[in-house]
């Protein structure tokens, strides 16, 4: 009787909360209501909080590789046989893109194809070689920066450049290249400044905490913008390291996960003493300091706007003098006159003598100079970082922030549960703590001192037994190479995320990861040397596989994928021989669609400066990872090919198809430039038409040209050459200024001004059609077609 009554109550509560009627309780720090605290969860919804298991490798299956043992066991259970191994040409393309984001060189393909060793041994050697390539770190950084939302600007109204954010980007590249143990990588990004005071590398790492969009203008309410940061960093740490979007618990206890709102604010309290600063450091020996001479263009620009301002000022003074003179009054600048209390009618009116254009230019000049002055920091070793201290009253942020002499200046933030997430409605105070539902890890107390909160939190996060930190990263690595996670939402291992398809494998990998000293390279090697990674994309019985393991979750075939936006561009540069493979450094500005580059865009009180590509070819032809990433101006090519926007964490890229991609890849000037570059290179290398085409196909597709293909390409070349004989191309005109039309804010009147694009005076064009003969241009048509072909766009 009593028992049934209790069951009834549980059932009733379950219905009201939309939760499991039966299930397991979870120990947490407690919700806002008892009912929430005591609610039950379906066991499969809280799998990720459970301690790491130590699953045995399934024995009955004949497998040489532990990953395959797990994978084959599930396939066997589903009654599916795996696809055969992919051929060597396919594999080397797959693994080279996987690990470096670039195609394999001809030599690398030849070496692998001709390697007399067995398939597995030979492939392992390729993996080992690629893991040592400096481009490996770049490709892994590309994945990581998607997750942390890297950008070189702050977004919102001003979209100010973050002139030193690039040092964090390069820190990530170095970390992967040096195989920095992942636990260290995590600790440095969360608390590098606290754990290793004075260590520049660790300080740069804390830039992670500031990756979200943020600004504080004259129209901001400081308490609200401070809360933006706190909410952003709490949620970001949750998604990136814990695989949980913690923001769901900002206003109420989590609806589906055992995350009480108390935990949300307790974790937030860890960051309540985290303050922004860009302290000056030494340069690190590995930092690329090439290209700083571009500052001459910035200085020229600042000087020009200073001249505009002084001219306007002179005009205003002269008009004011005349105004006073005609009234027989002594000249007094308006500001002084107001201060002296001279009657209004005896003071020159505000803005007297200035046309709307002058007013507009005055504003534009002032704002432009201010932002460019901040951009000078690009060439100085400041770190986009944080320190621990009290919260000071900071007004408008439009320049570098210093670490104060006294870090206890200001007030110590007291974190409280905010009613409805509103910083003006603090409720119950909370102390810094960790995510309480995590089990199997000793609870680390977080001090309430000013410094040391993040350090303690990071220690908790990186314990060997941490079920979330380990599973999250192992799952990410799997998803980066297999195209989907073992758990399908790498940022969400909670109740609403997709459940792991191979939970035992995930745990086995997590253990292996820790056992190997949190080595990302070791784990990657383990994943890539499995048979599962080396399967063909073709299966003899595709419909059975699709039937029994939808979405490829049996790993019986390898899923093809389209190249990412960056891989497409980098590959074209690679093939045309134009790619500058150097690592790191200040952001570069490749050519982007010129109309987009010159598209006026509003920032507070003026226009953002136009996008000027680097004048030097070798700087424009750097890898896409290093392209200046502005939140307010995305490269349209990158955007249409699904590069995610940097405002939200991207757990895995979407792949879409459609006509905007066609317009970009088939019509875009930059693509035509790459095609001509490749054609020129092929012709320069010599040989008759057939030899040229053999080389082209061999490089792009890593295979021998087929007879039909040879015939078609030769024919096309001939036809297009004849066509090109009749065509003439004019040299491309690179605009060195752009006319802007604007409405003046005060008067609403329209005015125009010229923005000079000073660096483009020295622009070194890529090879252009008018410089090439008909034969080369016709070959460029073939190259363009190949760049657009499905064989080029997909990796098998």
């Amino acid at each position: 009787m009593r028992r049934s009554a209790m069951l009834f109550l549980i059932t009733l509560g379950g219905c009201l909360l939309g939760r499991a009627e039966e299930g397991v309780p979870m120990q947490t720090s407690g919700g806002l209501s008892e009912r929430w605290t005591e609610r039950l969860y379906r066991a499969e919804d809280v799998w990720a909080y459970r301690p790491l298991q130590s699953p045995a490798i399934p024995a009955p299956v004949a497998a040489d590789h532990p990953v395959d043992a797990f994978i084959l066991a599930r396939q066997a259970a589903a009654g599916v046989k795996p696809a055969p191994r992919a051929d060597r040409r396919t594999l080397i393309r797959r693994v080279t893109y996987s690990l470096t984001g670039l195609p394999p060189s001809e030599e690398a393909v030849r070496a692998f194809v001709n390697d007399p060793d067995g398939d597995q041994r030979a492939f392992e050697r390729v993996v080992d070689r690629l893991l040592e390539s400096p481009h490996y770190g770049e490709q892994m950084a590309r994945h990581w920066l998607d997750v942390v939302r890297y950008a070189d600007s702050s977004g919102f109204a001003n979209d100010f450049e973050r002139p030193n954010a690039w040092r964090y980007r390069d820190y990530v590249v170095r970390a992967f290249n040096r195989d920095k143990p992942y636990d260290v990588f995590v600790r440095e990004q969360i608390a590098g400044d606290e754990l290793h005071p004075g260590d520049v590398e660790s300080l740069i790492a804390t830039g992670f905490l500031r990756m979200g969009p943020w600004e504080q203008t004259a129209m901001s309410v400081p308490k609200i913008t401070r809360q933006w940061f706190l909410d952003d960093v709490t949620d970001s740490v949750g998604q990136v390291f814990l695989g949980h979007a913690l923001q769901c618990a900002r206003c109420h206890d989590h609806k589906f996960d055992p995350v009480p709102t108390r935990d949300y604010y307790a974790i937030q309290a860890v960051f309540a003493t985290t303050q922004f600063a860009e302290p000056k450091t030494a340069w690190l020996p590995d930092e690329n300091r090439e290209g700083f001479d571009e500052s001459e263009h910035l200085e020229a620009r600042i000087k020009r706007y200073q001249k505009i301002l002084s001219d306007i000022h002179a005009k205003q003074v002269s008009a004011a003098k005349q105004w006073y003179a005609t009234r027989g009054l002594p000249y007094t600048p308006r500001k002084d006159a107001l201060r002296k209390g001279i009657p209004e009618e005896e003071i020159v009116p505000a803005r007297h003598g200035l046309a709307p254009r002058d007013l507009g230019m005055e504003r534009i000049g002032r704002k432009t100079i201010a932002r460019h002055q901040w951009e000078r920091d690009r060439y100085q070793p400041y770190a986009f970082a944080v320190y621990s201290g009290h919260t000071r009253k900071i007004g408008v942020v439009s320049g570098r922030l210093k670490v104060p002499q006294d870090r206890t200046d200001g007030s110590l933030e007291e974190t409280a549960i905010l009613t409805g997430g509103d910083p003006f409605s603090p409720g119950e105070p909370v102390r810094p703590a960790v995510l309480s539902a995590v089990s199997g890890v000793p609870v680390t107390p977080i001090p309430s001192t000013v410094a040391g909160r993040r350090a303690a939190f990071a220690e908790w996060l990186t314990q060997d037994e941490h079920p979330l930190t380990t599973r999250v990263m192992v799952n990410r690595l799997w998803s980066w190479h297999f195209g989907q996670g073992l758990a399908g939402n790498p940022n969400n291992l909670g109740a609403t995320g997709k459940k792991p398809t191979h939970p035992a494998l995930l745990d086995w990998l997590a253990r292996a990861f820790v056992r190997e000293g949190w080595s990302v390279k070791a784990l990657t090697r383990l994943l890539l040397t499995s048979q599962a990674y080396q399967r063909s994309t073709q299966h003899p019985q595709p419909s059975i596989v699709a039937d029994r393991g939808p979405h490829g979750t049996l790993y019986a075939v390898f899923p093809p994928r389209r190249l990412t936006a960056e891989e497409l561009r980098d590959s074209m540069l690679f093939h045309s021989g134009e790619l500058n493979p150097s690592l790191g450094g200040i952001p570069v500005r490749p050519d982007i669609n010129r109309e987009a580059a010159l598209q006026p865009r509003m920032i507070m009180g003026t226009y953002a400066p136009a996008y000027q590509p680097n004048p030097e070819r070798h700087r424009r032809h750097r890898r896409s990872l290093y392209a200046l990433k502005l939140r307010g101006l995305r490269d349209p090519f990158m955007e249409v090919f699904n590069q995610p926007g940097p405002d939200k964490s991207c757990e895995i890229r979407e792949t879409s198809l459609g006509t905007p991609q066609v317009f970009s890849l088939f019509n875009g000037e930059e693509i035509h430039d790459r095609a001509l570059g490749l054609a020129h290179r092929l012709i320069e290398e010599g040989g008759d038409d057939e030899v040229v085409l053999e080389r082209l196909i061999s490089r792009l597709f890593h295979r021998v040209i087929e007879p039909e293909e040879r015939r078609d390409l030769l024919k096309h070349w001939e036809v297009m050459e004849a066509r090109h004989e009749t065509l003439t191309f004019a040299p491309r005109v690179i605009p060195i200024e752009v006319s802007r039309q604007a409405k003046e804010e005060v008067t609403g009147e329209t005015f125009t001004f010229i923005e000079e694009l000073e660096s483009l005076r020295a622009y070194e064009s890529d090879r252009q059609p008018h410089e090439a003969d008909a034969r080369t241009r016709a070959l460029a048509d073939i190259c363009l077609v190949l760049f657009n072909s499905n064989a080029f766009a997909y990796v098998y």
């Binding site: 003006f424 609403t496 459609g658 035509h672």
Partner: protein
């Protein structure tokens, strides 16, 4: 119904994607949502099939347009000081009240309040439903714009136009379902204002640029003729067909091949659809095309009509900036003249074509303006930002035209009657398009998300 699309499903998107999708729909038949742009029916009967959203970026002053405050005449230039940690630097400090430089009258049979600057709009006043009760949260342009456009102050979420297309699909296979007509200069916050956010890229707003190529790279570089492209496309087709034979199970290949053919057709057809020059002179004159002050917005309004006629689901036309901190008489005077005739023409034109009743028109900014101004460099007759009061109006399908709903206080500082958060306006807009905000959800980052963020209420007073 509209939930949980597989995150890695390949999408066909952008212009005309559904034409392509017809050809290989059988390949994707296992997932019904795989024709994201195909027209579908909403959750309830739609009052309007499409929406034209007139976005007055910068924050038009309700006090100087549609919400007269005679009390400010008495208070004019009276000074006061305001200090509050909830206020930005802009709103605090020494301030003074400012009267409106404009005269007001009541127009139409409904007696709607309007400044006398609106000479043309006054003639269609009875088609409008004014709403004075809306409040937003942010006083900063980009965050307020994101809030009105996407329901989220921080950007990165899908815009209303993206939601509408997600819910209803496109009625024209050859055009994007969500078209944005921005000013020459993109607004603060940029293209995130018409983003697809976490919805598939299919639903992204396509900005038609007022100068240069309306769609980036719509045409090949100079010197490349259509024949020339056709020859290259034929070679591409040959190579791709051979590649397909080698990879018969790879489903994306056909789709990618069709998108090239579709793009080639669109290159030809789109410029004609976008060209308003083909309209007769009387129509062009009606919209004020050819007159300096109205030409730019007149073209946008006429194009908006052409686009909804073609079945485009959601058109958003920008005008600005209405951010008149100083000299509001001059600044707002010009701005009103820019849009007055074009908007009135749009309403008349839609009506005479029988399209008004199936088109929803929305006019608003990202916030209203304050009855007072701050002392900066002396006294200036302008206004600051005001999230607590604004005027928006609606016209067309399903709205309660000829009425003014809600009210602000005596000086226009705060909405006091029929007060609703912007999220309720969003819910109401979706409702008019036949969509239920609580059912129009998409699974992302751990939960089913919706335009209103956490749900909202319809505003029944706005509905016919």
């Amino acid at each position: 119904m509209f939930t949980n699309m597989h995150s890695r499903r390949r999408h066909l998107y952008g212009l005309g994607a559904s034409l392509g999708s017809v050809a290989f729909s059988s390949l994707l038949a296992e997932e019904p949502a795989s024709k994201p742009l195909a027209a579908k029916s909403g959750h309830a009967k739609a009052r309007a099939k499409s929406c034209i959203f007139l976005m007055m970026e910068g924050g038009p002053s309700h006090i100087d347009t549609f919400d007269p405050k005679p009390k400010l005449i008495d208070l004019h230039l009276q000074r006061f000081t305001r200090k509050d940690e909830k206020l930005s630097g802009m709103a605090s400090g020494t301030r003074y009240y400012v009267r409106s430089p404009f005269d007001f009258h009541q127009v139409g049979q409904s007696g709607a309040d309007m400044s006398t600057e609106w000479r043309h709009l006054a003639k269609v006043a009875d088609e409008l439903c004014f709403y004075r009760g809306c409040q937003v949260e942010s006083v900063n342009h980009p965050t307020a714009m994101y809030h009105v456009n996407t329901g989220n102050r921080f950007g990165g979420d899908p815009a209303i136009g993206a939601w509408a297309n997600y819910g209803l699909g496109s009625a024209n296979a050859d055009l994007p379902g969500f078209i944005v007509l921005p000013e020459l200069a993109y607004p603060q916050g940029g293209a995130s204002n018409w983003s697809n956010g976490y919805l598939p890229a299919d639903f992204q707003g396509t900005a038609l640029r007022p100068e240069g190529s309306p769609i980036l790279d719509l045409q090949p570089p100079p010197g490349i003729s259509r024949d020339h492209q056709r020859a290259n496309l034929d070679l591409l087709g040959k190579l791709n067909r051979r590649h397909l034979a080698r990879h018969p199970d790879h489903q994306d290949l056909r789709a990618r091949m069709s998108s090239y053919e579709l793009a080639f057709r669109m290159q030809m057809e789109v410029p004609g659809i976008l060209d308003v020059e083909g309209e007769d002179d009387r129509t062009k004159a009606l919209y004020g095309i050819g007159q300096a002050e109205t030409d730019a917005f007149g073209r946008k309004c006429l194009l908006a009509r052409r686009l909804v006629e073609q079945g485009v689901r959601f058109v958003q036309a920008y005008h600005g900036t209405w951010d008149s901190h100083d000299a509001i008489g001059k600044a707002h005077g010009t701005l009103v003249r820019n849009v007055d005739q074009p908007i009135a023409a749009l309403i008349q034109d839609l009506k005479q074509r029988g399209l008004l009743e199936e088109t929803l028109i929305v006019w608003c900014g990202e916030f209203g303006r304050s009855p007072d101004n701050g002392v900066r460099s002396g006294t200036a007759y302008g206004r600051d930002h005001n999230p607590n009061a604004m005027t928006m109006w609606f016209a067309g399908g399903g709205v309660r035209s000829g009425h003014t709903i809600g009210a602000t206080d005596a000086i226009g500082e705060r909405a006091v009657d029929v007060v609703h958060h912007i999220r309720d306006v969003h819910v109401t807009l979706l409702h008019l398009l036949g969509l239920d905000d609580n059912r129009l959800t998409y699974y992302h980052a751990g939960r089913y998300k919706q335009l209103s963020q956490f749900g909202g209420r319809r505003i029944p007073q706005l509905l016919a």
